[in-house]
Structures are given as structure tokens and as C-alpha cells.
């Protein structure tokens, strides 16, 4: 049976429409990528509350800051590389320092952006956003969760970064599943190892757990959709109960989810860890499948990482 696939930016578009209906303060800004980011779905329904700032991300962030200062809830939208990278100082000094209620959507996260190549594949955005005080970082795993995350960030005060992928990826969560910012969802219970993942690679983690089950290895899978604030309770519980951790993200292995988990465990309960992610290199053009294979981001790679970590696990 083939699983339904949708790009998780579609969930963003649907979430924005929902917010447009229920919250008159929601404003959407884009930087000439409205069709690609799905912010045009909001534009079509609420043209008076949509503003295109042109190809000017830094100005877009500042404009959003002004709107937030006046009580609006602006969602700024563009590719992750162009917002988290190019407008980082605006996010730091104008938005986060003043703790302004600006929501930032970074589309096209990860190498699975594909043929556009390295310039357009955000691989550092989680790290860049996570290091900022007052920032919340949410990385939804599929389109259903992306919609929930979009709606959820509007209801909390302060800056938030939402990360979406480009390609259609499996939709494996359900409308009725709970979604709470800062609270990991345990998708599979297990006792030998825990796979902690965020974004569409959560699905690969599920496939890996299935594969491991066949070999008699019991893997827990946590969907860590909120990278900041990290659900420390779930991570510490996993470390205590399973004694080995593998993190998985479509991001540099430095500074992202793996880094966040490692920082916590190093202090509270040092635990053998492996990290799945891009290993300190840039991406390139290719199909998402070719790139996932090359950069070792598949279920198969997660299985290998689990075996490596289990070999180092303390009894």
C-alpha cells in the first residue's frame, strides 16, 4: 500500500488560511516566493492582509517587527536559507532581543530541495535559529503536523521559526494526534534505543524502527517537532530507559537537534549517541532520493547508526 505524500509547506498554506479566518491580527509577508511557499493561498483569500516585500528579506523582517510592535501577528515567509541566513541579524537584534511576536517560516529545508542545489538547501537554519534567546524552533514532520504547528505558533507570544521541506513527503500523522509546542510525540515505544528525529526524516526513523524490530532490536521513536524549547523530560526518560540515542535531522550534524540533545545529555546523563545529518559539507543538485542516499539520511542509515550506538551502549 502506498502512503499519501504531500509537501509540508502545504500544511503551512492551510494553517495560514485557518488563521486568516479566526484571527484578524494575522498578517502574511513574503519576499517574492509566495507561490512556492504557499503563502499565496492566504493572499488569495485575504489580500488586504498580505504584503509582498519584494526580494528584500532584511527589510521584510524589519517590517514584520514594526507590525508586531503594533499588535499584529506577522508571518514572514521565504526559503530557510534566505531568512535564517540573510536576515539573521535582523532576527537577532530587532526581533529576538525585543522578544517581538514575529513568526518566521523557512521553506525548502534540507538537501531534499533537490535540483536547485546547495545554495537553496537550508542545512544550517535550525542551528542559527536555535542559538537565539527567546526563539522557539518548530520542525514539523509532515503536512498535517505543519498545519497544526502553523496554527499553534500564532497562539504563543514571541518569535518562532517554522521549518518546512519542499518535496512531497509521507503523511503519517493524523488530524486527531495531539500537538503541543515543546512536547515530543512518542510514535513507537521501545527499550533498546531511542531515535529522536524532527522533520520528514521522522518517517525514515519509523521505517528504521520496523526494520530493527525484525532483527529483535526494540527502538523507541520520538518525534521531536519542537527543537527549542527541547522536551528535556522526554529525552532524559529515553536516555534512562533505553540507554542509547540516535538523532536524525536533515540538517548539519552540528548545532541542530543532535546538538541540542547532546548538550542536555552531556550535563544530565551522558549517554552513547549517534547523529544522522549532513556531515559538515554543502549539498548539491540531484533528486531528493539520490541526495538522501549520498548524504546518508535514509532508514537504512538510521539502522546502521543504531547498530553503532548499541555496540557502545553500557550495560
Amino acid at each position: 500500500m502506498s502512503i499519501k505524500k504531500l509537501p509540508n509547506r502545504d500544511g503551512y498554506g492551510l494553517g495560514l488560511i485557518e488563521l486568516g479566518k479566526t484571527n484578524p491580527n494575522v498578517i502574511v509577508l513574503d519576499a517574492d516566493l509566495a507561490k512556492s511557499t504557499r503563502s499565496d493561498w492566504f493572499q488569495e483569500k485575504f489580500p488586504d492582509r498580505f504584503f509582498d516585500l519584494g526580494i528584500a528579506e532584511q527589510d521584510m523582517l524589519g517590517t514584520a517587527a514594526g507590525l508586531a510592535l503594533a499588535g499584529k501577528i506577522p508571518f514572514v515567509t521565504t526559503y530557510g536559507v534566505f531568512v535564517a541566513g540573510r536576515a539573521w541579524d535582523q532576527i537577532r537584534t530587532t526581533v529576538c532581543y525585543a522578544e517581538l511576536n514575529v513568526k518566521i517560516a523557512g521553506a525548502h529545508g534540507g538537501v531534499s530541495v533537490g535540483p536547485d542545489g546547495a545554495t537553496h538547501q537550508a542545512l544550517e537554519d535550525i542551528a542559527l535559529m536555535r542559538v537565539l534567546p527567546n526563539m522557539t524552533v518548530v520542525v514539523p514532520c509532515d503536512a498535517v503536523e505543519a498545519k497544526k504547528a502553523t496554527i499553534a505558533v500564532a497562539s504563543i507570544q514571541g518569535p518562532c521559526y517554522l521549518r518546512f521541506a519542499r518535496e512531497a513527503t509521507p503523511v503519517f500523522t493524523n488530524e486527531e494526534d495531539s500537538f503541543q509546542i515543546g512536547k515530543a510525540n512518542q510514535l513507537v515505544d521501545g527499550s533498546d534505543v531511542t531515535i529522536i528525529a524532527c522533520g520528514p526524516i521522522v518517517y525514515e526513523s519509523l521505517l528504521a524502527a520496523e526494520e530493527l524490530q525484525k532483527e529483535g532490536i526494540s527502538a523507541r521513536v520520538l518525534n521531536m517537532h519542537t527543537v527549542k524549547p527541547l522536551d528535556a523530560e522526554a529525552v532524559l526518560k529515553a536516555a534512562a530507559e533505553t540507554g542509547a540515542i540516535v538523532t536524525a535531522e536533515e540538517h548539519q550534524i552540528f548545532g541542530g537537534l543532535g546538538g541540542a540533545v547532546a548538550e542536555l545529555l552531556a550535563k544530565q546523563n551522558p549517554t552513547p549517541m549517534e547523529m544522522i545529518g549532513v556531515k559538515d559539507t554543502f549539498g548539491e543538485s540531484g533528486t531528493p532520493e539520490e541526495l538522501a542516499e549520498k548524504y546518508e539520511l535514509t532508514a537504512k542509515d538510521i539502522v546502521k547508526a543504531v547498530k553503532r550506538v548499541l555496540a557502545r551502549k553500557k550495560d
Partner: protein, 276 residues
């Protein structure tokens, strides 16, 4: 607030200048040069132009002032204190541990500040966002934004210039403190801006060029800007860096250096001309 006469404003400007040199001397660091060049621009704005309530800094209908060149916060803190946002004595806590008067403005630290700033080039975008919100909400408040001339070298400002004109934000009034100096020297030698008036005009702004130390011209410029519809306005104010303290005037070195005790005394003597 009751508008002040030009004579009163002149006297207040002397106090503001004295505050600037005293604050930076007490802090042992800070930016007197560009603060002194903006004194008339901000004194006129805070005492006679802004529709605001210092005792109620969150009043939703207030006009907003965004300080884009955050390093000249001494002049802003001074006019805020002297219009009643906080006690004048607090000015001497500038840059000290625990002070609400951070070395560059912190929105969360001090009620009455409308944004944080210090990393240059960001204020006009913020002003545009506030102005856009006013248009959306049908509110009549105006948004003012002070920038330095050196600051105009930041690309984001030119993005924001396009945005304000594109969305016809006639409730935005930008002010350029055109004192011709920046840290590394003369603006025209570091990275030239000329012809500045033509640049703003070609970006579809209403340009008002004045002597930024002539209070009558300053007040008239704010009025003209408020009456101009369909376009944002910019006041290009020709000023003198370090104005009012002879040994600081037109010297780039006083951009970010505090006077010592002897220099402070000389400065105060010049500002008050021998008697307050």
C-alpha cells in the same frame, strides 16, 4: 503636551547638550558626536511635534519614534527624561550595570523606547511596519525614524525606502542627520552618498532639506512632512557633528569617545556660555 516657544526650545537644547556630555563623561564611554548633531531634531520632535503621553508610554494612539542609529541614545534618553518618561537623574546611569539606559537602546529595558537598535540600517523597516499597521487599523498616528548619514550605507535602508514609497506610507517621516562624518572619517571619502537629495527623490520620497540646528526650520519641516499626502517624507537635516562643543565639532574622533573631567567642564562652559 503644550508646545514650547522657540526660545524655550533653545534653552532645553542647551540642557540636552549638557546631559549628553555629562552622561557620556559619567559612563566613560558612549557617542557624543552624533548625539550633539541631533539635539534640535529630537528636542523639537519630543517637545512640540509628537502626539504622545510620557506618563502612559503604551498609549495606543501615540506617534512613534524609532531611533535607527542606536548609538546616539544619549540624546534620546535626554529628551525622554526631560519630557517626563523617567527622572532626569537616571540619565547618569547610562551604560552602567543594571541600568535601564543600555549602551544601545533595549526595547524591553525602558518603557517609551519603541524598538531595540544598535545594529545599523534596521529602523526604517520597523517604522514602515508600524505605519503599515496604522493604515490597516485606520489609525492616525505617525511614525518618525532618525538615521545617520553613514548609516545610509546599509543596503536595508534602500530596501525600506522602496517599501515606504511602494505602499505610499505618508505616515512615515524619516530624518537624516547629515553631519558628514562617520567613524573612519568623512562620509564622502569613506563611501559617498552624493547626490543624496536626488537619491531619495528618485525613490519617490518627498524630500525636505533643512539646517538641522535651526529650530524654526526643523519645526516647519515636521509640519510640511505631516501635511504631505501620498508619499513618505524625509527631512535631510544638514548638521554639525559635535555641535555646541567647539573641540568636538567636525571631529570624527568624537564619534564614540567620552570627554574626561577637564573636557567636560570646558564643554559645559561652552554650552551654557558662562551662565545657565
Amino acid at each position: 503636551m503644550v508646545p514650547q516657544s522657540i526660545e524655550n526650545l533653545k534653552a532645553i537644547c542647551r540642557d540636552v547638550r549638557a546631559d549628553i556630555v555629562k552622561m557620556t563623561a559619567a559612563a566613560g564611554s558612549g557617542h557624543p558626536g552624533g548625539s550633539l548633531s541631533s539635539v534640535e531634531l529630537l528636542t523639537a520632535l519630543y517637545f512640540n511635534v509628537l502626539n504622545h503621553r510620557p506618563e502612559d508610554p503604551h498609549w495606543p494612539e501615540r506617534d512613534r519614534f524609532i531611533l535607527s542609529k542606536g548609538h546616539v541614545c544619549p540624546v534620546l534618553y535626554s529628551v525622554m527624561a526631560r519630557t517626563g518618561y523617567f527622572p532626569v537623574e537616571e540619565l547618569m546611569t547610562l551604560r552602567k550595570f543594571g541600568s535601564r539606559l543600555q549602551g544601545h537602546p533595549s526595547y524591553k529595558a525602558l518603557p517609551g523606547l519603541e524598538s531595540s537598535s544598535g545594529s545599523l540600517g534596521q529602523g526604517l523597516s520597523i517604522a514602515n511596519g508600524l505605519a503599515l499597521a496604522a493604515k490597516l487599523d485606520g489609525k492616525s498616528y505617525r511614525v518618525y525614524c532618525l538615521m545617520g548619514d553613514g548609516e545610509l550605507q546599509e543596503g536595508q535602508i534602500w530596501e525600506a525606502m522602496m517599501t515606504a514609497a511602494h505602499y505610499k506610507l505618508d505616515n512615515v517621516c524619516a530624518i537624516v542627520d547629515y553631519n558628514n562624518l562617520q567613524i573612519d572619517g568623512k562620509v564622502e571619502e569613506v563611501m559617498g552618498l552624493n547626490p543624496l537629495v536626488k537619491k531619495w527623490e528618485s525613490f519617490n520620497w518627498n524630500v525636505i532639506e533643512i539646517d538641522g540646528h535651526d529650530l524654526a526650520q526643523v519645526l516647519k519641516a515636521y509640519e510640511e512632512a505631516a501635511n504631505h499626502k501620498g508619499q513618505p517624507s524625509v527631512i535631510i537635516a544638514h548638521t554639525i557633528k559635535g555641535k555646541g562643543v567647539s573641540f568636538m565639532e567636525n571631529v570624527a574622533g568624537w564619534h564614540g569617545k567620552a570627554p574626561n573631567q577637564e573636557e567636560l567642564e570646558r564643554a559645559l562652559q561652552e554650552i551654557y556660555g558662562g551662565g545657565k
